[in-house]
């Protein structure tokens, strides 16, 4: 078991590809995406229902090495500033599997 960082981003699905590109450029090549998130943000104050018109929100999870964090923040922050969305970081322990060792 060893320490990695968990990055959680909630944003509109229209911005998804830009954010994933940002992660990729920052060297974080793995991620998982949950779609069809509904939500409410302080900014717009109204509950956003999923509807046909404005796209759904997505919840992006990426686990990365602690030293990848700085480039990630550098790549993601401008996108959040421009398009909105929130990003949070926390500490988790990875259970290394044989396969994971190969991939990290």
């Amino acid at each position: 078991m060893h320490l990695v960082k968990k990055i959680e981003i909630i944003a509109n699905s229209f911005e998804l590809s830009k954010i994933l590109d940002g992660l990729d450029h920052a060297g974080v090549h793995g991620h998982a995406v949950i779609r069809n998130i509904t939500g409410k943000s302080l900014r717009d104050g109204v509950t956003e229902d999923l509807d046909t018109t404005m796209g759904d929100n997505v919840y992006i999870i990426a686990f990365c090495m602690p030293d990848q964090l700085k480039p990630v923040v550098e790549h993601i922050r401008p996108l959040l500033n421009k398009f909105g969305g929130t990003c949070y970081i926390s500490d988790v322990m990875e259970i290394r599997s044989v396969r994971c060792v190969a991939s990290l």
């Binding site: 509109n12 229209f14 109204v46 229902d49 509807d51 046909t52």
Partner: protein, 322 residues
């Protein structure tokens, strides 16, 4: 008389289910059509309308009328966002003005489909190539809107790439599926139509009805946003469609479209996009406030058009064509 047309429009299942959807939100029923079912219904409608349009286009061929109609469509798709931009600029900042202008320059396929169902009801013919006009009018406003933003705002770092924008404008899923189905309709012609008919024709009216139930839910949920948009935008969202329809009708008269086609053209001019354009604007003009351009198009213009607008425009056409 106008009122009887409105009534015969309102007493159709699609419009009544639209009301039912709105009512559900107003009385706080938990009725909902969960994602991605509305998406399925809208894919189906685009597929069916595009395919039918293609089949009929190949029957009629590319005549002079077709070319005139498509030219008129292009003209309106470029003209509307420009003139509305200057009206909107009076009260709003340049970003919001451009985004809303683009929204009204583009079209709503569901409004078009509702109008064509209404024509079927009344037994009035219309030409299949109107679907080509529909497809043509979807994208230009996005481009015009962006050019306006570029001309009227001066921020150094507006760094969007034209390829991305053109991609978004011409290859977004609505335009792509509509145009693709149209092409396939042209290629397979009458024969393809026969085999697909129970699917594309038989279910069409029912799916439209079901979809409008969802549109009622969606539109009603947006109504509370209107408090923030203010009276100016609400008036805009009712008057501009009427003006655009009026211009459209005059052009239609000028190039001597038949009445059915004229109504569809008027509806295209009058309607505002609440899917393709908002999606594009959100990415290219993130400074604009989505709740302004989505809510006006969805909670005011869309209901106005399908309930009052369609019969009203037909009434006008009936007067002029007499």
């Amino acid at each position: 008389m106008d009122a009887s047309l409105i009534l015969s429009n309102i007493l159709n299942p699609p419009i009544l289910f639209f009301f039912l959807g709105m009512t559900a939100v107003l009385v706080k029923s938990d009725l909902e059509i969960p994602a991605p079912i509305p998406k399925l219904l809208s894919l189906y409608l685009l597929f069916a309308i595009g395919f039918k349009g293609g089949v009929e286009l190949i029957k009629s061929g590319i005549t002079q009328e077709v070319i005139f109609t498509l030219l008129a469509a292009m003209l309106m798709a470029c003209f509307v966002p420009i003139y509305t931009f200057f009206i909107l600029k009076l009260k709003l900042d340049h970003y919001d003005a451009a985004a809303i202008a683009a929204t009204y320059g583009s079209i709503s396929a569901v409004t078009f489909i509702t109008a064509s169902a209404f024509l079927n009801e009344l037994g009035i013919d219309f030409d299949g190539y109107m679907v080509a006009a529909l497809a043509l009018m979807e994208s230009p406003a996005i481009i015009v809107g962006l050019i306006l933003v570029n001309l009227f705002t001066v921020d150094g770092k507006r760094d969007f790439s034209w390829p991305d924008v053109l991609q978004e404008a011409f290859l977004n899923s609505s335009v792509f599926l509509l145009v693709g189905s149209l092409f396939i309709g042209v290629l397979t012609g009458e024969h393809g139509w026969e085999v697909l008919e129970p699917f594309t024709q038989g279910l069409f009216y029912g799916v439209l009805t079901f979809f409008l139930l969802d549109m009622g839910l969606v539109a009603a949920r947006r109504i509370k946003d209107l408090q923030k948009t203010g009276l100016f935008l609400i008036l805009f969202a009712i008057l501009i469609p009427i003006v655009n329809a009026g211009i459209g009708i005059l052009i239609a008269r000028f190039i001597m479209m038949p009445q059915g086609d004229a109504l569809l053209f008027a509806v295209l001019c009058a309607s505002a996009s609440y899917i393709a354009v908002p999606a594009a604007m959100r990415l290219t003009v993130p400074e604009a406030n989505p709740s302004l351009y989505v809510s006006t198009a969805l909670a005011v213009t869309f209901p106005f058009n399908i309930i009052v607008g369609i019969p009203l425009y037909l009434y006008g056409i009936n007067l002029l064509w007499r």
